[in-house]
Subunit: 337 residues, 4 copies
Amino acid sequence: MIVVMTAGATQDDTQYVVARAQSLGLRTHVSLDNGRTVISLTGGLRGIESDALSGLRGVERVASLRLPYRLTSSEYKSERSIIPFNGLSIGGDEIMVMAGPCSVESQSQLLETAVAVKNAGAKLLRGGAFKPRTSPYSFQGMGEPGLKLLAEAREQTGLLIVTEVMSPEQVPLVCEYADVLQIGTRNMLNYSLLQEVGRVDKPILLKRGMMSTINEFLMSAEYILSHGNNHVMLCERGIRTFETYTRNTLDINAVGALKELTHLPVIVDPSHATGKASLVASASRAAVAAGADGLIIEVHNDPDHAWSDGDQSLNHSEFEALMGQLKAIAVAVGRTI
Amino acid sequence: MIVVMTAGATQDDTQYVVARAQSLGLRTHVSLDNGRTVISLTGGLRGIESDALSGLRGVERVASLRLPYRLTSSEYKSERSIIPFNGLSIGGDEIMVMAGPCSVESQSQLLETAVAVKNAGAKLLRGGAFKPRTSPYSFQGMGEPGLKLLAEAREQTGLLIVTEVMSPEQVPLVCEYADVLQIGTRNMLNYSLLQEVGRVDKPILLKRGMMSTINEFLMSAEYILSHGNNHVMLCERGIRTFETYTRNTLDINAVGALKELTHLPVIVDPSHATGKASLVASASRAAVAAGADGLIIEVHNDPDHAWSDGDQSLNHSEFEALMGQLKAIAVAVGRTI
Amino acid sequence: MIVVMTAGATQDDTQYVVARAQSLGLRTHVSLDNGRTVISLTGGLRGIESDALSGLRGVERVASLRLPYRLTSSEYKSERSIIPFNGLSIGGDEIMVMAGPCSVESQSQLLETAVAVKNAGAKLLRGGAFKPRTSPYSFQGMGEPGLKLLAEAREQTGLLIVTEVMSPEQVPLVCEYADVLQIGTRNMLNYSLLQEVGRVDKPILLKRGMMSTINEFLMSAEYILSHGNNHVMLCERGIRTFETYTRNTLDINAVGALKELTHLPVIVDPSHATGKASLVASASRAAVAAGADGLIIEVHNDPDHAWSDGDQSLNHSEFEALMGQLKAIAVAVGRTI
Amino acid sequence: MIVVMTAGATQDDTQYVVARAQSLGLRTHVSLDNGRTVISLTGGLRGIESDALSGLRGVERVASLRLPYRLTSSEYKSERSIIPFNGLSIGGDEIMVMAGPCSVESQSQLLETAVAVKNAGAKLLRGGAFKPRTSPYSFQGMGEPGLKLLAEAREQTGLLIVTEVMSPEQVPLVCEYADVLQIGTRNMLNYSLLQEVGRVDKPILLKRGMMSTINEFLMSAEYILSHGNNHVMLCERGIRTFETYTRNTLDINAVGALKELTHLPVIVDPSHATGKASLVASASRAAVAAGADGLIIEVHNDPDHAWSDGDQSLNHSEFEALMGQLKAIAVAVGRTI
């Protein structure tokens, strides 16, 4: 349920409605949309009548939203969100490219790739320090030393850092080093983690669950927004289907659908979505043409010897060539990279 | 198995190998690749030793292909196929757009839309006269009268005609009217039909089965090519997945994959792949950016009253606007529309 | 739409309603359910008002059915259908087991297996003479000589014959030899074929499309019933999912669902549903426990050397052991084998 | 990698191998299989040569396992695991039935249902105190008060308690009250949580991810076993497919497959696997016939008013009737309930 206040409602009016809602056992979240104050109500809505609030001073209307998600929806907020951070922003005309290795492996590997992707036009460096792996026996990431290497690479190149956080207790540590926190595909339904990153003031890159619907994806974003952090980017990274030629199936329809359904920026990960380096370029071009606000691409200085995901990593010159193609497509859709 | 003849092999040499293979119970198919004669052998290969043929005069080598499909593969034919028909061609620099209503409903409906899509830049008119419908009680198409209307629209607009054929016995009739025969998604595994259209000299638009792998798709193309017709266009039209927000999931990865695996032109159908008119534009742009050689798009003069597929049909002005966007993307990838 | 006649309606009343409906361009199908005459109307229902018929003499009511399928539904016919043929029947207390090789390969192979499955308790012999194969280069079945071998095996063992028909023009030939016509999974949406077998008086074993929903499965059955043949058995044979350990995923839920939704008998094919001989026994037991009315199982005298589907074929002693297990389960659910 | 010690190896021999492996940076896990000591090695196996260990005293062989999972596999441990807890055991001849409401809602609701399922033959009471819900606005469970009600119900009925734990920090709290900890389908890939429950001495009911392959399922079990807890039950609860008639598709093949691949007990959840109360009975019978070692079934005293999952909950009399059917099937497969 949301309460939309009138244009002339005062702060006191709003405070009174908030207090009244809280006394009914509801959680409240106050925000602005086009100059109007909107109070979003969550918690046990069972049996709460809207007239408990609709008669209060300054209340224009109390509405149930048509969709199961609220703060995330373009019904709730009609303008597209632009997420600012450390001098950059995502969601505007400029398409943001994030690139780097799957895993942080060593200082030299990371720095070499960081310099290469920066020169080719990337603005953020990706790299995993904590790696969720299907097998308990696989390399699980360097941990904090990996985070330190990422911070060092930022210092040397000016690239901002996006890296994954895997559990609630890692959040403070990763926040110390990263500019953007990534929630991986396996954790899209890890509600404890979503709630935790809902309380930090860093932008979140939320990856779609590999077998989650668009609706569930938006519900997971809603977990984050409803805990107070509305700097969420939605990342389509391929879904699991019956097709086995590719690692996943890039759901390119989701790009257009998410732009309809939500005001949040949409990112595409063509590396996991294809699983094959030879297909990354065509998938990346498609993503930009479809309307994506950013890309996150795996690049490695030596893909054949990468510790993880070598098959889907571009080398430096492939990435540079791809950036040239993407700039042309961006122009064709009225944007820049 | 294929037999590659030497550069100096004579027609007699080739004839002798063909006769020998046939005496072993094999079917043969002779073709040229870059000036070399290649004999493709099919039928009961069980227990046939390659040395029965490898010692014959003019034989350079007898090879098993690595892939289960042969004539279709880019291993077999290294140059991309350009399919010519009635003054047009598909597979070259120009991207071909086919547009029109799902079903032929009436003369005025068809003609009005034909004129509109022609003016916007389409080169072929699509329209169903025979409609495969899930329910035996749904409208099943106008049949031959619909074909006549299509032929009339060709006469008046110069657009070539692509229309579906549903069973082997319909093939001669549809051939009388159509320029391109379409095999629908439900018939991708209808081998009797594939064999039949393998024997005609019209280009075939083969739609991917909605739950068929890329490999199976190429095997179905192989059925057509191995019966003598190598003018086949492969059409990705969305696959069935767990996602229900869209009618199907456009497998945009398949565009890049098919361009790697085969020499045949690749077409995308964004209408069935999304099932929602509002998503057709972004899917179409993505398809062109990914490398598609053509598009087939449902356009209707009055989508709200279409007899079938109204939800996914563009109206005339939406189609015109889309064509403008696609021309820009085509330029960005070094092609034209 | 259906017209339900009153208990006292005469044949003349029925004839009059039929004639009236036909004059409106509708096709009619007259049947009996619990002593009541029911006229099912198909064809262009667009714009036909139910009051055109509801006022006629002897008409109790004109109803739209809630479901997209009609004749197939348990709403339309409340008693379970028992399909009789040549002294056997399917759909009653006795669970019918059909067994035999994937393909007919030779007289000795077929006969040896026929004797073995008969001794173990099977009542029908399965065997493919026409084989739909993904590759045009794979063995496509023996054709009519295979049918003759099946007929011979029937003569020698008394087993009835179930075998696949792949195209409309094969129907008369296969009818000469077979007791039950099988429509394979790839042809579940081949409407020309469905219509053709809707006009014969042999029972049809309709396999579910590997990519088809339960609803689409029933719509395909409806194609057959609406053309006059209501002796249809529905065969769940596994669906395509993301799981790759098994060839398909046996949708055991479909057994219960089909028994709710329709009056037709339900058969399970554990061989294709698993693709692994080692899993056939547990899947077969599950099917009988879930309520299946029959099973169709691949059995081969020498699975390691089968021309097709050897991996999923039981040998003779495995089949015999399985039949023992199934008899115990049948008793536990109040039935016999 | 595993090290299998000789029959005559001493504890000192084993200790030496363990120390040597740890000095190479490996984690070690010592276990017994049929009287032989087996040391499982995990951690960074990159570049570790097996000859670093194979020459040590008491070592019979150093082997790489064929499968990506080790401790979980039936190659590693040839006898089926029987998991004992508080007087019961799972994995032996007796099939264990766990039943109860989706969510704990109140004392009376829980106790009423507990008494009913106990009388019908259930041995464990299920009930959620922490509920993972797709929407942040849905009822998320009673939390600790719910756990207390479960403990109370145990005291009054003697039923043991199985309940879900959603995050690593909840583990100690849930351990205070529960006899079996459940990991839900959304958390099958939550590796932090898997590691945490790998360190407790309670049996774990691990539900298969709705989107996870059998192989990934076993890898998640491996996370738990490799951290020291080998009391894991694997629960098939339906997978996500294209079918929408049912909430999920019960992968009954997985029952047979898991019994082949692993020594761990296999449980089936027919409630989530179907999502429809009317299909729970047939799915349950199928599971027992296929070889499941246990069932977990949602039962509610008033399904129409359940706070969650009412559609798939049996009422008391339906559950009692089902137990009667299951006893008969159990006998048919040589087991008891």
